[in-house]
Amino acid sequence: MKKKVIIFITLILAITLGWATRPTTAHAADDSLVRVQKKGTLVMGTSPDYPPYEFQATVHGKSKIVGMDVAVGEKIAKGLGVKLKVKSMSFDSLLVALQTGKVDMVISGMNPTPARKKNVDFTHLYYQGGYSIVVNKSEKGLYHDKDSFKGKTIGAQTGSTMYNESKKQTTDTKVKGMTSVSDLILALQSHKIAGVAMEKPSAQAYVANNKQLAMIPSHFDLSASDTSAAVAFKKGSTALVAAANKSVDQIRKQDLVNQDYLPAAGKYLKTNTVNTSMWHYWKAFLTGIEYTLIITVCSVFFGFILGVILSLARMLHGGVVKTLIRWLATAYVEFIRGTPMMVQVMFVYFGLGLIVNLPALTSGIIAISLNSGAYVAEYIRGGINSVDDGQTEAARSLGMTSGATMRFVILPQALKNIWPSLGNEFITLIKDSSIVSIIGVSELIFQSNIVRSDTYRGVAPIAVIMVLYFIMTFTASRILNHFERSMQHD
């Protein structure tokens, strides 16, 4: 729920910023098609945890996003004469990414509902499916359709049409929303919920790959727009939509989805589930560790520099300019410490993205550095205050300037005093860097989600990353302790 509010706020912000920084597309000439063709690439946003629409598969030892939606994207890109680039992020973030220009189009099994149509433009439908409910095979006899779940809980992907319809069209049934379908399947298998509502092709994929699952028809009363998928473009990109529609119409006419795309996706699913041991995915986990460490180390580094600057700025005294700088630094620290890191990450990626288009990894590092700097500044300020005044007097009496005194005498001692706090900050960042998974950076959490949707195994990847996180934090704290001891002279 909270996440939704945050997304809503970011969206509003993004739109307002958009208004402020560029003319609205309604009035401006529609250059959407020309822009994409000039770029030579068409960036597609998708949430790859929804087989067979889109999912991660290991192709020739490399993790890759595949599925029927990717095939649709390829077809559209080819029709425009440009290259396709696939960007993955959580389903919730997709439309924001489209509004803020992070992606050119969204293909993610998305239903063109009236509510969504208000914010984005859709192509014609490329696929018409239906809904099924996945249940545990052992309980298949108990359920027939959506009306069999009285007093029980069913699950659906948060923000999806199924979620809203399940709420509307069932009575006495609780609906539980989760961001990823793999989580829902896990909840089903651990009997937290009795069924999972999802689109028929997805249900088929899950049932085919997991012997403990079965599917039943949903019998939801649905309009065509609720059961079908279309490609979303930014509002007002009429030319681009028209061009994409040519490809979409071909797909429908030649029934390419059923004839080509779904069978091809099915093949990936099969090869995918041959080996679901966690060892088989060591590369995916390694990538996760790599990114987690890159983000942490970079953020600690820049956060530290920022922290030093902020703490010194907060100790300025004197004229109007110095007072103003001190005031700004104080305001910054208070503001950052008073807002959630998740909002900051989304703000940097989506909000700042309106002015400069930053890659997700860079945005993540910037956001976490900005955040960490505020906390480090407070530690350093405390550390500086903890150094005896006599040290400053001794240094000044030797003719050292206040700058040299700070740099050579006070800061080294302050840092030694706060080393344990800085170490804690580092370890906290190893864990907190997981927040950037929401903008699609392939750090450890993100990678584990991929492995989960890839293997249809819910718990094992979580256990693996838990151990991996522990190994990282434990090693880090040993190393930091070692340095702490070697700094001890008194």
């Binding site: 040290q391 007097e393 001794a394 030797l398 003719g399 005498v409 001692q413 700094m487 002279h489």
Partner: protein, 246 residues
């Protein structure tokens, strides 16, 4: 007659409503050893700190070698401070640096001399205070007497024209007072100009050229040790001496 090294004119210092130094006019000539004595809280430390501008005077002037510190910019004040070494009651050694590094820091960072030269000089100074075998020790492992001698060597490393001592022995165990005083005596013998705040009356009698007795924000008496200890002029001084010599 050469110019005085330090000239203090109508110096006053207030901390808020607390007027600590009221009106002090004195001078220190080259090679002189001045011992400042007076009851605790009478402003001796504040006075000493005003001499090298660690404390900014509320009014009045402090001149060093003829240059009025109170009218100079920070850069020039820093430059003049180099020439006034200061030794504190609490040593104030840098705990994160070895003895050698403590001594080398300012010459290298302020004067910009080379590491090799600074090291050589530091060893010479350590020999002078009898501590060369402790060059690599850290301050925490030193006794109080050793730490204070290192602090003196550190101040001397800047080649000061004047040395200011603020109760250098009052934080020491009695058996260590002697080793510090003898280093100071040696300095005085070499002709160093010194202003020493101390309660060591033996040192004052044998080493001082002048005694300044401070009380109630004024230098109440300025005389030779012989005069001062034999014939104190003011009631304040008589009272002080009777208490301290008891």
């Amino acid at each position: 007659m050469t110019k005085p090294v330090i000239e203090v004119q109508n110096l006053a210092k207030d901390f808020g409503k607390n007027s600590v130094l009221k009106d002090i006019t004195e001078q220190v000539d080259a090679g002189q050893v001045i011992v400042v004595i007076g009851p605790s809280g009478s402003g001796k430390s504040t006075f000493l700190r005003c001499l090298n501008l660690l404390e900014t005077p509320t009014s009045g002037h402090v001149a060093f070698n003829g240059e009025d510190l109170t009218t100079l910019d920070t850069k020039r004040v820093n430059a003049l401070r180099e020439q006034m070494g200061m030794v504190f009651q609490g040593f104030n050694l840098f705990p994160n640096m070895s003895v050698l590094e403590n001594i080398k820091l300012a010459p290298m960072k302020v004067k910009g001399i080379s590491d090799a030269e600074a090291t050589k000089q530091a060893h010479e100074l350590l020999q002078q205070v009898n501590l060369d075998d402790h060059a690599d020790a850290f301050p925490a492992s030193l006794s109080g007497g050793q730490a204070q001698r290192v602090a003196i060597a550190r101040a001397l490393a800047m080649n000061p024209k004047v040395m200011l001592f603020d109760e250098p022995t009052s934080a020491l165990d009695p058996e260590m007072v002697g080793e510090v005083l003898s280093v100071m005596q040696q300095l005085a013998n070499q002709g160093m100009t010194m202003v020493v705040v101390t309660h060591e009356m033996g040192f004052a009698k044998s080493v001082a050229d002048r005694i300044w007795f401070m009380a109630d924000g004024y230098i109440q008496e300025n005389s030779t040790p012989a005069e001062f200890f034999a014939h104190p002029q003011t009631e304040r001084a008589k009272d002080f001496l009777s208490k301290i010599l008891m």
